[in-house]
């Protein structure tokens, strides 16, 4: 079965997690434009992936006891991986990953402050289950639901997100001694970037968010799944004096937020967030991040790309959906020269490898430790700046973790590969061709291609028996998924 066209493959890698065999069949006759719409306008398709957990033709969840993805962080990790592999809305999961890195929040600090159950709930609770819990949705669900909506709305929800209020200490930001963690990082990392605010802005922003605190539900117990934390504007702790910034912050272009009474002081923070979300430097900064995430990591962002993308963002009231559509249909994205110019993130790498090699009886619990060794434990970014992406994903240790995961996956799919390849295993060349169709690498130069052929030659006389086929197909899967050419997407 011939592979998909290069531009379709490119889209599937960048906007999704690569193509499973079923995707390859589904999208073979699809045009690139139609596929962009398929990805971007995903809301017409049901978000039914969680309901498919447990089906025998899907990847498996590892269980010690009851599966509790809303209140146990390892189960939440497995659920997210399951979603990446089996979702009908790949761009939604991809963007959830983007926002998880952009608004990087780590479980460990939440768990230390609020206990493991509450922390897992704050990170990952998904409402709409058969037996819903009380309390706000988890942070990753916020990123999923708002993935392509207005950034200004997302920013407000992030500012009021319980996990974020613990992570950056907003819960204890009070008027007597404002604390700066959120006030600084919201400008440095979430919006403007380090060159576009002053130390005085940090102090003013920190004061604007005084009183943006948390409270517990009635009768709160940290081991009770029905208990929860929620955002709470504490008017008594709000600094009511005027706050002056180095950039326009109030409606009308004023740099000063006027003194406001405690009861209307919530507006201070909303004003700051709106000013930050609609600031041209925020637009450019997001555009540069999208360049690296969707387009290319081997060249600096094209200034024309940055300006045009920033302009789409600002013209659409900070809505992200038109921005992503603009990017995926732009000549920057469709340029054949940008294919395989991104370094795959570990979670993308894992999800794509499983989708391409196979998931028969594969347990997603077996991914968690390798993913951490690759440098990307889900829900545990190293700090508020998120993961260092691009070539920084690759060190000797993380590369070994990738190749060793390739070995684990390949070993687990030995029999599946032997059966599903079937007639394609009749000759060495047919086997190599079938595996290269399935596991898609950046173009292989002659030397690595010859190394793969030599590996098959070394098998001796070729019988194509299930045993020989299983061994060599698994070996090829390990070689291809572990190849440097596979890391570039």
């Amino acid at each position: 079965m011939p592979r998909l066209s290069p531009e379709i493959d490119h889209l599937l890698r960048r906007a999704g997690f690569g193509a499973s065999a079923a995707d390859a069949d589904q999208f073979r006759a699809t045009s690139a434009d139609a596929l962009v719409s398929h990805f971007v306008d995903y809301e017409g398709r049901p978000d039914d992936v969680d309901a498919r957990i447990g089906r025998p033709d899907h990847a498996r969840i590892s269980l010690d006891d009851a599966f509790s993805p809303d209140t146990d962080i390892d189960d939440a990790r497995q659920r997210w991986l399951f979603r990446m592999i089996h979702t009908r809305r790949p761009l939604q999961e991809k963007m959830a990953m983007f926002w998880h890195n952009h608004f990087a929040t780590a479980y460990r600090k939440i768990a230390a402050a609020a206990g493991e159950l509450q922390a897992a709930k704050m990170m990952a609770y998904t409402p709409g289950q058969a037996r819903p819990l009380r309390g706000p949705q988890g942070q990753i669900e916020l990123f999923r639901q708002q993935a392509l909506d207005r950034f200004s709305d997302l920013l407000v929800q992030v500012a009021q997100d319980p996990a974020m209020l613990i992570w950056l200490d907003g819960r204890s930001n009070v008027k007597s001694r404002p604390q700066e963690n959120w006030g600084r990082e919201v400008m440095e990392l979430f919006t403007l970037g380090v060159d576009f605010y002053t130390e005085s802005d940090v102090r003013a922003a920190s004061r604007a968010f005084t009183g943006w605190n948390l409270r517990r539900s009635q009768g709160f117990r940290d081991d009770d799944p029905q208990s929860y934390y929620e955002f709470f504007y504490d008017a008594e702790q709000h600094d009511t004096d005027a706050k002056t910034f180095s950039f326009p912050v109030a409606p009308g272009g004023s740099h000063t937020i006027p003194a406001r009474g405690p009861s209307s002081g919530l507006q201070d923070g909303l004003d700051v967030l709106m000013a930050l979300a609609t600031h041209p430097e925020t637009a450019r900064r997001l555009a540069r991040k999208f360049w690296g995430f969707f387009v290319c990591e081997t060249r600096d962002p094209d200034p024309a790309f940055v300006e045009s993308t920033a302009s789409v963002y600002l013209r659409n009231g900070t809505a992200i959906r038109p921005v992503i559509r603009h990017i995926l249909t732009s000549s920057w994205f469709t340029d054949a020269a940008v294919r395989h110019t991104r370094y795959s993130w570990p979670a993308e790498f894992v999800a794509r490898a499983i989708r391409e090699v196979g998931w028969q009886n594969f347990e997603l619990g077996d991914v968690l430790t390798p993913l951490a060794s690759m440098g990307m434990p889900l829900f545990e970014p190293p700090n508020v700046g998120g993961w260092e992406t691009g070539p920084a994903w690759y060190s000797t240790a993380t590369m070994l973790a990738r190749t060793n995961f390739a070995a684990t996956l390949a070993a687990s799919q030995r029999e599946f590969l032997a059966v599903s390849l079937g007639a394609d295993g009749g000759t060495r060349d047919a086997l190599l061709g079938a595996m290269l169709d399935r596991v898609t690498t950046a173009p292989l130069d002659r030397a690595p291609r010859e190394a793969l052929q030599a590996y098959l030659q070394a098998a001796g006389s070729w019988t194509g028996s299930p045993s020989q086929l299983g061994t060599r197909a698994a070996g090829l899967a390990r070689l291809l998924v572990g190849a440097s050419e596979y890391q570039l997407v």
Binding site: S172, V194, G390, S395, A454, A474, G475, L479
Partner: protein, 417 residues
Amino acid sequence: MKVSRRLFIRDGVATVTLGLAAPSFLGAIARAQGAHGRHLVVVYLGGGNDALNTLVPYQDQAYYDRRPTIAVPAGQVLQVGTDAGGHALGLHPGLGGLRNVFNEGRLALVQRTGYADSSRSHFEAAEIWNTADPTLSIGPGWLGRYLDTLPRPLDALTAWNTASETPRALYAERSGVPAIPNVATYAYASPNRGSAAREERTAVEAMVANPAPDRPHLAFVNGTSRGALETLDRVATVRSYAPTVGYPNTGFARSLQTVAGAIAGGVGTKVFWVVTGGYDTHSQQGAGDGTYGALMGTLGDGLWAFYQDVRNQGLAADTSVVVFSEFGRRISENGSRGTDHGAAGLMMVLGGGVRGGLYGSAASLTPGHPTLENDSGDVRYEVDFRSVYARLLDQWLGVDSTSILHGDYRSGAPAIF
């Protein structure tokens, strides 16, 4: 304007490729040279260490006035005497192990280290400390530039990063640094056994040998894989290391035990990089105990175990440890009983060849005092951190610091060696 983190990582790419794959026969050379070589262990306290609670000015009333709930009580500090400015100082009570080293005369405490116009951004500040250049937080790091000065071919284990991500300090133009966080899992796996596994490894070696000269990013990943294959066998020898003391059960101590194993095993590594995090104490940091107390316990107990371990094996005189963080913290506590991002910090250097003691002079924490900055919110630096680097390079590693640091920072350097 400084370049964003995301952009400037790229300049390390084409270059890091070149140095990684040293031929394996170099192991023997490295061992022959390394057994008597000097080692520098660089410890990064991630998040911005609250230097005023590490080395406490326990007779400065302003310290207590400005930190009503997080000041370390004078009665709890581990006194280390008086600095040149007449300030009485004491270590945090969690640093008992380090006080032992101090009492042996092998711990140097260099106060108020930093640079002018200190960055309060974690990321920018970390890059500045790593490049040793406050104006240009891009390009190779100071340790990478040191590696680049060493004779070629460079052994693949000349530097050893115990974290899985490579810090900018170790970025080099022609030297690669392996990341080896865990010697137990630093191994090669195959889905097959026997001849099929051997043939697969042969194929791997052939595939990653592709120099791909016109595809630098592919060449970079290939170089990383070659670096892993080159170092696997020698790293495996460290797995059986039996330390002479018990190490605490922390990730930091496990990293230091690995370092001790590599030193004792004569692997030949000159520079080790170790990270311990959690220092971004914006809230509920505690005073003598609590969050910060736990951080100090992890730091002090880990370093004390390491120091004893190398000393017991007669290797202390070959080993120096330098401890730094990207900035100090605000003098006044915030309303969350924590501290926000500040300026000057504390560097610590310990080892058998170190001239211990108190260097520099503490700030006076009374608002308006000239040792403060940022509306008296922060401690102003006194010792340029590059002068400490210069001393480490010139006196410990035995190279010319001026070319590596792009300037002469020897004057005013604390005489720690």
